[in-house]
C-alpha cells in the first residue's frame, strides 16, 4: 500500500479542527494546553477524525498523542496499517 501523504492528512486535520472546535491550530498545537480542549472535547474530536479518515483509533492510542501533528501521524499509521472501520 502506498504511503499516505502526511501533509495532506495534516491539512485535512487542521480544517477539521477549525470546523469542529472553532480553533485555528498548527502542527505543533497541543490539544489541551494550546487549543484548551478538555478530555470530552478531545475524545469527541478523535471520533470526528475517525469518521473523516475512516480509521479506528484504539483507546490506548488516544493517550499517546498530545499535538495535532502526533494525532495526524497516528492517523497516517492506522491508514497505512489498513486499520479501518468495517
Amino acid at each position: 500500500m502506498s504511503a499516505i501523504a502526511y501533509d495532506d492528512l495534516l491539512s485535512r486535520n487542521l480544517a477539521l479542527i477549525q470546523r469542529v472546535c472553532k480553533k485555528t491550530a498548527s502542527e505543533d498545537s497541543r490539544f489541551i494546553e494550546d487549543l484548551e480542549l478538555d478530555s470530552i472535547d478531545l475524545v469527541g474530536l478523535v471520533s470526528e477524525m475517525e469518521e473523516e479518515f475512516g480509521v479506528f483509533v484504539p483507546e490506548e492510542r488516544l493517550r499517546t498523542f498530545q499535538t495535532v501533528g502526533e494525532a495526524t501521524r497516528c492517523v497516517q499509521e492506522l491508514l497505512g496499517a489498513g486499520e479501518q472501520v468495517a
Binding site: 478530555s39 471520533s47 488516544l62
Partner: protein, 402 residues
C-alpha cells in the same frame, strides 16, 4: 488582633478544591478553628471563599465577616520550601494538618507522583517539624487497587493491580502518613456526588459527573436508536457530599488517633452501574434497544456509533473501576453512628435527584430534549450481551433477552 482568639489553627491543603472546600465549610460551621490555607498564587481570596461560603449557606448557616475572618490564605511555597509557612503556623497556632490536596489526573504520572506522593511527604516532614498533634490525610476508597477481599480499615497489606497511578500514589501517600510517627487519621471517601437533600454539586466533572458530562456533550446531539453500555450489575460506591461532610466531622471529633476510615455508603442500598445507565437513558435518550455488557472487551467498539465509542473511551477507567466488586469494612462508620453520626447512604432515588439537577441545569440537554423527545422509544428493549456475542448476531442476542 490575637489570631488565637479565633480558635486553634488548622492547616488545610487543597482548600480551593472540591473536597477541601467541603472540609473548610464543615470546620467553619462546626468547629472553633482558624483555617490556614496554602494556595497557589492564581487563587485569590474571592475565588476561594465563593464555594466555601455557598456550602455554608446551603447548609443553613450564615457566612458573615466573622466566619470569613477565620480563613487565612497564604501562598503555597515550592515543595522544598514549605518552611516558609513557619510564620503562619506560629501566628495562627496551627497544631493540625488536614492534607486534602491531590492530583486526579489519571494519566499524568509525573503530576500524580509529585502531588500525591512528594507533596504529602513534604507536608509530613513539616508536620514533624511543627510538632502537630495530628495529621489528617484525605485518601480514596479505591487506594487498594483491585482486590477481591473486603477492604479493611488498615494499610493495604497486599495491594492489587491498580486501575491507574492515581490509586497507587494515594496508597503510597497513606503509607507515608502512617509511617510518619505523627498521630494520624486517614479518610477514604468513595466517589463523592451531589447533596442528597437538593442534588446540588459543587465539584468538577469527575467520577459520575464525568460520565454525565460525557453523555451530555457526546450523546445529546442526535437520538440514538441503539445504546451500548458497559453496565455490570455491581453496586457503584457513591457518597453524597453532605454525607461525606457528616462522616468527616464525626471522624474528626471522635476517632482515636492512628485510624483509617472507609467513608462509604451501604452496599445494599447503592444503585448498580446498570441502574445508573438506565436512569440516564430513561431521562435523556430512550433508545429502542440498549445492549448491556459486563466487560469493556465484550463491546464491539469498531461497530458502534463513533460518539458512543468516544464516551466509552472517555469513561473507560471510571466505568471499569465502578464495575469492580468493591467491599468495605465499615467498623469506623458503625462506631461513629453510635456517637450520633447521621449518614445518608446513596441510593437510586438520591442519585436520581442529583441527575435531575444536572439535567435541569444543562442548556444543551434541555435543547436536545426539546428537539428529540418526539423520537424517544415508548419502550426500550434491554439486551444482556453475553461474552463472545457480537453485533453480527443481534437477533440471537435479542432473543436471549428477558
Amino acid at each position: 488582633m490575637n489570631a488565637r482568639k479565633a480558635g486553634r489553627g488548622v492547616l488545610l491543603t487543597g482548600g480551593s478544591g472540591y473536597v477541601g472546600g467541603l472540609i473548610a465549610s464543615t470546620l467553619l460551621i462546626h468547629e472553633d478553628v482558624t483555617i490556614v490555607a496554602p494556595v497557589r498564587r492564581t487563587v485569590d481570596r474571592q475565588r476561594f471563599l465563593e464555594p466555601v461560603s455557598a456550602e455554608v449557606r446551603l447548609a443553613g448557616h450564615v457566612f458573615d465577616e466573622a466566619m470569613a475572618s477565620r480563613i487565612h490564605l497564604v501562598e503555597l511555597p515550592e515543595r522544598d520550601r514549605l518552611a516558609e509557612l513557619d510564620d503562619a503556623v506560629a501566628r495562627f497556632g496551627v497544631d493540625e494538618i488536614i492534607h486534602s490536596a491531590g492530583c486526579l489526573d489519571y494519566f499524568n504520572a509525573g503530576a500524580l507522583e509529585s502531588i500525591n506522593v512528594d507533596l504529602t511527604r513534604a507536608f509530613v516532614d513539616q508536620g514533624r517539624r511543627w510538632n502537630v498533634r495530628r495529621f489528617i490525610y484525605i485518601s480514596t476508597a479505591f487506594s487498594s487497587g483491585y482486590v477481591h477481599h473486603e477492604i479493611a480499615e488498615t494499610l493495604h497489606a497486599a495491594p492489587g493491580k491498580d486501575p491507574t497511578d492515581y490509586t497507587r500514589t494515594k496508597r503510597v501517600a497513606e503509607e507515608l502518613v502512617a509511617a510518619s510517627g505523627l498521630p494520624y487519621l486517614i479518610a477514604r471517601p468513595a466517589i463523592i456526588i451531589g447533596d442528597s437533600r437538593d442534588g446540588h454539586y459543587s465539584g468538577k466533572q469527575y467520577g459520575l459527573y464525568q460520565l454525565w458530562a460525557g453523555m451530555e456533550r457526546l450523546l445529546c446531539r442526535e437520538w440514538h436508536p441503539e445504546i451500548h453500555a458497559l453496565a455490570p450489575r455491581q453496586p457503584v460506591q457513591l457518597v453524597h457530599q453532605n454525607a461525606f461532610q457528616e462522616a468527616f466531622l464525626a471522624a474528626y471529633r471522635h476517632l482515636p488517633d492512628d485510624r483509617i476510615i472507609n467513608i462509604v455508603s451501604d452496599q445494599q442500598r447503592l444503585p448498580d452501574l446498570r441502574a445508573l445507565w438506565d436512569l440516564w437513558l430513561d431521562a435523556c435518550l430512550r433508545p429502542a434497544t440498549t445492549f448491556y455488557y459486563e466487560r469493556m472487551a465484550d463491546i464491539p467498539l469498531r461497530e458502534i456509533n463513533g460518539k458512543q465509542r468516544a464516551l466509552l473511551a472517555l469513561a473507560s477507567v471510571n466505568l471499569q473501576i465502578a464495575g469492580h466488586a468493591w467491599r468495605y469494612e465499615t467498623s469506623s462508620m458503625d462506631y461513629l453512628r453510635t456517637k450520633g453520626l447521621r449518614f445518608t447512604d446513596a441510593t437510586r432515588e438520591s442519585v436520581a435527584l442529583c441527575q435531575d439537577i444536572f439535567i435541569q441545569e444543562s442548556k444543551l440537554i434541555q435543547e436536545f430534549l426539546g428537539v428529540h423527545r418526539p423520537f424517544f422509544a415508548s419502550e426500550t428493549m434491554q439486551v444482556d450481551v453475553v461474552p463472545e456475542t457480537t453485533l453480527a448476531r443481534p437477533a440471537a442476542a435479542a432473543a436471549a433477552a428477558p
